[in-house]
Symmetry: D2
């Protein structure tokens, strides 16, 4: 039950970093929906490691092969399964991690849970590589939502303390995200300063984290359920499935906690024929149910735990302390690659509530 999410649209992810393949089963997509495969590939390439100095040099084709549920590019109603074959894996890099857990990784907790059977190669099932599967499912969901007038986009709102400007909460300028830039931001200069911080951290054998902001427009009012199956619950549950996420906030979020009610309350108004709110501190959900305003969340991503500096760890077999030096290819900052993953997570959560 670990690696599956959704009630009406069930997304089930499998695979380890170095297993034969990773993949995803998507159960519940309507029959007759045409997947734009080119668009899906373009979406997934935004997550793939690039040539930039800030990303790992491991090449991943990461192109999904659809082995069921799709005939001539069109969903046939039965579960869709897509897989990505794993190639170009350097398993030897990870040989000592079973003995000496990496700080900030799941090596230790997985050892407690699975014992020596845990597939630690490349992080196993905990690898960020599994987010490629989330992107397959999410990329399809994004296309489906678009067919229903719903658009989702994210940008890096902060890296190493350098902030991009925020989306306008009432009318987020999704198309202004610089999707082709090395870092997807609204303000190009912010992106440049972020990149400097990333490179500075890299030079010091260190890493940095950040925040991604994600918005959905066009979600009709009335989606979501009160209490435990609301907009926030379901998006949060999905987003915490992305490795390294440590926090999430909707609308004004933690800032709302510092406002007065008179300031935070979003007053209703009528624009054209539509009921709207003048501001959007509520982030598009009231009582768990969509209000018709943009749904907006921000997620905090911790700095990449794999750093080249020596770190204190332990020997699990000898129960003694031991210094660890991690060898291998690691992003000094995964936040830029997390942008499409957030969009995917949000799309999956909204699809499940809307299908």
């Amino acid at each position: 039950m670990a690696s599956q999410i959704g009630e009406k649209l069930k997304v089930s992810i499998f695979g380890q970093s170095h297993s034969e393949a990773i993949g995803v089963v998507i159960d519940g997509l309507p029959a007759g929906f045409e997947i734009d495969m080119e668009k899906l590939r373009a979406f997934m390439s935004r997550r793939a490691p690039g040539a930039g100095a800030h990303t790992t040099s491991r090449k991943e084709a990461d192109l999904p092969r659809f082995i069921s549920g799709v005939v001539d590019g069109i969903t046939c109603g039965s579960p869709v399964c897509a897989i990505i074959e794993n190639t170009n894996t350097r398993s030897k890099d990870y040989s000592n991690l079973r003995e000496t857990p990496r700080p900030g990784h799941a090596d230790y907790t997985a050892f407690i849970k699975y014992g020596l059977a845990h597939d630690i190669r490349g992080g196993g099932h905990f690898s960020g590589r599994l987010t490629a599967c989330l992107c397959i499912a999410g990329g399809i969901c994004l296309q489906y939502l678009e067919s229903r007038g719903i658009r989702i986009a994210a940008h890096v709102s902060e890296i190493a303390g350098v902030c991009d400007r925020a989306f306008d909460p009432v009318s987020p300028e999704l198309s202004e995200v610089l999707g082709d830039a090395p870092i997807a931001v609204l303000d190009a200069s912010a992106g440049e300063r972020m990149m400097k911080e990333i490179l500075a951290a890299k030079a010091e054998l260190d890493s940095v984290g950040g925040v991604v902001e994600c918005a959905a427009i066009g979600v009709p009012a009335g989606i979501g359920e009160p209490m435990f199956d609301g907009i926030e619950n379901n998006i949060a549950k999905t987003v915490f499935g992305i490795p390294a996420v440590k926090g999430i906030e909707f609308g004004a979020g933690f800032s709302a906690a510092r406002m007065r009610g008179s300031e935070n309350n979003d007053e209703f108004c009528i624009i054209g024929d539509e009921v709207r709110t003048k501001t959007n501190n509520h982030g598009g959900a009231l009582g768990g149910i969509s209000s018709g305003l943009p749904i907006i969340f921000r997620a905090a991503i911790k700095p990449t735990p794999s750093i080249a500096r020596p770190q204190a760890s332990i020997s699990l077999s000898k129960s003694e302390e031991k210094t660890l030096e991690i060898v291998g290819r690691h992003d000094p900052c995964i936040v830029p690659r997390a942008v499409p993953v957030m969009e995917a997570a949000m799309a999956i959560a909204i699809c499940d509530m809307i299908i």
Copy 2:
């Protein structure tokens, strides 16, 4: 599916603010567990509106009546149902809300979802009163967890910008929470300053929000599942079921996003016979699985949306703008009462993963 949570321990909440009763069904508790009813009542009284100037004057006995699943105070293995009869309801206060939705409330979104059938009296199913049911279930879970060596406590970490000191992330001082004070804090003087802010807001017919910090100690390593059923996912999904929550973070949370990896990574060490980390920026979960360190989260609570000031709203029937003045009894700050509710939510989520 809205009002239910859990896989192994299913908690199903029902009732509206002014229905005959509210209640909860708890399916999955082990048979033979003795519920300390006195302790449960004491726990629930922490949520009940008090006599203090900062809480509503509506008196609620809020004592649960167990109508199934418990024989002589001991669970018998079949589903536990407890109800609280609703009395002392002033339904007339809410008569105009069906027509004019309150900013910051679910009146409008519920109207879109349920139409005129929505039970708007007292907020219906969206009322904060329903958290009493969460506290019945959570209060029992807290006792069950305690029997397994797990303790949970929360405190107000911030109201209106006034901060309490934080829990020590490695060894949170749960017993130092001033549970009997009007505001449960670690630092009494912070509580006094918070109260001043609440009263100031009240005097100005306004309200304030805040942040609650909640910690669990004694959760063994290895609890939780990777990806979508991890510690963070399940706690977040439950906590967003509490009205007014707009954000959640674990461990260093959003601060982690501003740290370097070398700073955020929690290095492993051995203390006595146990594997521990020297710091606890990860908040007790790595890869979704508990590490044995305290599980710590903070949740942002928006200011009470019901304020006595005139606010802009609309007439739903006439589709025109209209000023709304809310009459009735409302807390200028619900954060103090949210403290046991957070403990309850965390206890339910952890029980579901541990039973």
Copy 3:
């Protein structure tokens, strides 16, 4: 998770035979549906023990009290909870059963599962009395389905080897069921002969079982999912929730196993504008999905296990064999009362697939 069923319409049953109350939570009913309370009571009275010689003399009002989710008889969108207070319970009758399990009952298996904490009074959660809760939920579902043109009816097709005629599989004559007779049959004389068998068994301190046939007409083609969430899977899972059911078959069922393909296959034809089959050996479902033909099942009900004759059992505390004599009020045949329960179960299962 034991006592709950459904994905979109979740029905959660609680209570023991002698707890303060029994009840049901129904989550997922559309808002704005008016429940005909008089009709619901009439439906439930068909399950209630009557004055006839073949039913227990325990009087049960069994009228549900709606404590949430319904305002002025109309569903408001939030979970519906209805309870039935337990009165007129004779707990002393059951005092020795904890020590000496009744053959054919769950006393022994419940003891293994719950130990001494099991509430054995009146059978606890395993009591046939809990089917009253199924009838509350099912009775509402029947009304809802009727509003969508779907009708369900059952009759006793067999008791003690005496058979009623079967429904016409293509056009079941639902309205011809003699619902007011002591035994609901199509052929009054069959009912009389069944009653003779029941009374004969009673006179010999024994009991008899039987078969109920249940049909739904008006279910549109295309309902249900392939493989594990089909018409048959979901109805079977619900029907086996009724105590004493030991088998279920759809359409020609076990007889189909003895047919040739050319005989069992239902050939397609066109009647009016509609695609139909000439025969209905498939029982309304092909590949788990409704065909538009009537959905028909038969369920086998074992004879009431509580009989007044001495039976061999054991002493659990002494681990030795011991003769048991059951004292109390027991139906010599529960099949007649099971008729509305089957309708309820079918209605719940279909509602869950159709809502």
Copy 4:
């Protein structure tokens, strides 16, 4: 949600008869379990079409390729995915079925549900071929159960009216099943007579159905939940996922409906140190919970719907009646091949309750 089953052990099946591959994801297996791949292949070969006159001539290697969750033959704790590539598919055989639905098949209901997008080639997702995936999951579950002392075996109890002897309900002789014979029976002569009936039907371009009996021994008392998650509910829900199953009964099943209570009740006794019943009409489950006696069910399988005789059908596009002649390779009787599939279904259902 269609093609997935289980709570703790989730089995998710994907693929169509002629898609690139079919497969299964198994989430919830304990880490560190060694799969005996040779044994799994042997198990699966019992389902594969043989060389015998009574089975289709389509060759299927049907050997699963494990692409995740298994390292060196040992489960690593993350979801197991195994696929079978589809080769040797003759898609042209099925070209006219989209227009003219086959009686007894899901062609029509799938058309109503999925429209023209339905992948009708080879029956698509409804194909009996998908039971190979059930056998992968079930074959692993069988091995896991065996490691915990639980054994499951099935035999053909009836084909075309010819009966094998039944298992002894108290001590089923699992090892006496003639597993290597063309038809797995207890009584070799019954198998020979069944084969004659199959060949006779084949000669007449017709098909026959039958009944499979399946037993599990070694399931400890106390497994399963009351009401909707009991032994019978879960096995029934899984078994109805096998194409062509039209009925299921446990223990004495429909025969129990014709017994007196004094005859059907299984009296308790003590054998050695164990509580047992003298007979096993209850089929191993009382109140949904296992009693420690063998769990025994029989499932009715309709005759293969694909027969070479001309049959009445319709033209979906023209809405007129039309004669259909099915071309292709079809078993005149699938009952022999269903034997391991029943074992697989039972193993999956029991694993889900026991893990």
